[in-house]
Symmetry: C2
Subunit: 278 residues, 2 copies
Amino acid sequence: MEPLENISRNRSFGGWHKQYRHRSDALGCDMRFAIYLPPQAATEPVPVLYWLSGLTCTDENFMQKAGAQRMAAELGIAIVAPDTSPRGEGVADDDGYDLGQGAGFYLNATREPWAQHYRMEDYVLKELPELIESVFPVTNKRAISGHSMGGHGALTLALKNTGHFCSVSAFSPIVNPVNVPWGEKAFTAYLGDNREAWKAYDSCELIRQAKEHLPILVDQGDGDDFLQSQLKPENLVAAAKASGYPLQLRMQEGYDHSYYFIASFIEEHLRFHSRYLS
Amino acid sequence: MEPLENISRNRSFGGWHKQYRHRSDALGCDMRFAIYLPPQAATEPVPVLYWLSGLTCTDENFMQKAGAQRMAAELGIAIVAPDTSPRGEGVADDDGYDLGQGAGFYLNATREPWAQHYRMEDYVLKELPELIESVFPVTNKRAISGHSMGGHGALTLALKNTGHFCSVSAFSPIVNPVNVPWGEKAFTAYLGDNREAWKAYDSCELIRQAKEHLPILVDQGDGDDFLQSQLKPENLVAAAKASGYPLQLRMQEGYDHSYYFIASFIEEHLRFHSRYLS
């Protein structure tokens, strides 16, 4: 296989949406990702927003449903959407939608059978941006955003690596996974029973410990079915307040957990990131 | 079953996306449709854009992928997206993706086994708008648009019923179905072997015969895989020229047949319709 195999291309708002397949050393499997290159990328390198999707998603959900390309084209920002876990026949999986393939939680697993392939933290933080920045006309200015499990991924990766990203945002993120069913199930499987080890992947914990501050924007719908059981944005607000971390978290009236919510506010997120990427 | 059963609702750009199921007398089966109600509909009746989707689609493709709600919310236009054919176990079907369920071609079939249920022309033109205008806060100002088979549907229904719609637009429409494989297959099945009967559903033929003129906007990507075999926009241009019909048909460089194309230009289509709906 070529290092980077192009598997689709669509003209979009004067730029290009493209999907690629490549061999990931970090994950030990073939992976697919999507990239949106705005028209500006034809003449000059552009900064990159990494988008992390939620449970069950692939690289396609955001690119097809969020309507982000319009504003990315206006602002001159590339968008990269990785898959949500390692994939393939040789990769461990689970019958649940919230564990295994499609549910990598953007961490490095330490327990078998997951540790062999489930190293999404390494993939999203190192291998993928190195690949993107070596192949495409982009700068090394990066922002990160995501939805639900991907909002958790965006916040934790950014909070743990403040120099790596200029800004971070999230829609409906799982901000306190150590205290909710989705997180407890995934972290028990991927990281084991020792809850101390889970704290490295908990946004509330990380924001309490943060020494440096990064611009953060979070949008959360108050009509979200997962609000009280899985998302608990009030815990992030309390953690940020306790540590004096400047957090902009907006409750959006009537909005749910769907891409209709993301589409409604993605323009504001792109404008937010653009301020720090330029 | 209730006359109109609400099966989903999502807040979107300050308005609502909703899906409904209802019994269709015209089609003799249960049907699902989607409606986007912009924020303005909460306080005053708004005009309606009917969107007809292409082969294999349902009411969901456009609502999820076109990104139309943003501009519909800004302009105060409701959008109604019906399904692309009658549906259900008792409804005739075919193994091909381009005939039967998902491929109704927006006509009234006259041949069995199709004639019993395949009456999408009656459904889209009469039954559905009567239902919409009796239940939702909308005016009787209507526009129509669609993609591919749905572009064919929009153009033919508008050209045959000039008083019914204020304006019509299409993306990548099948403008000359009597001369292309998709149309020949479907029309043979639905209408029989007499090609004279097909002309009532051919946009090129209708535009040649048109007495009244309606504002028409057509966008067609020149990177569309179906351009030469199925779409033939040059035939519509020639027919319009021959009859002096004012047609705005734009070839868009590099764009293909996908929703990435539709999303890139849907704002301009909504602005176009808004001029005639207000």
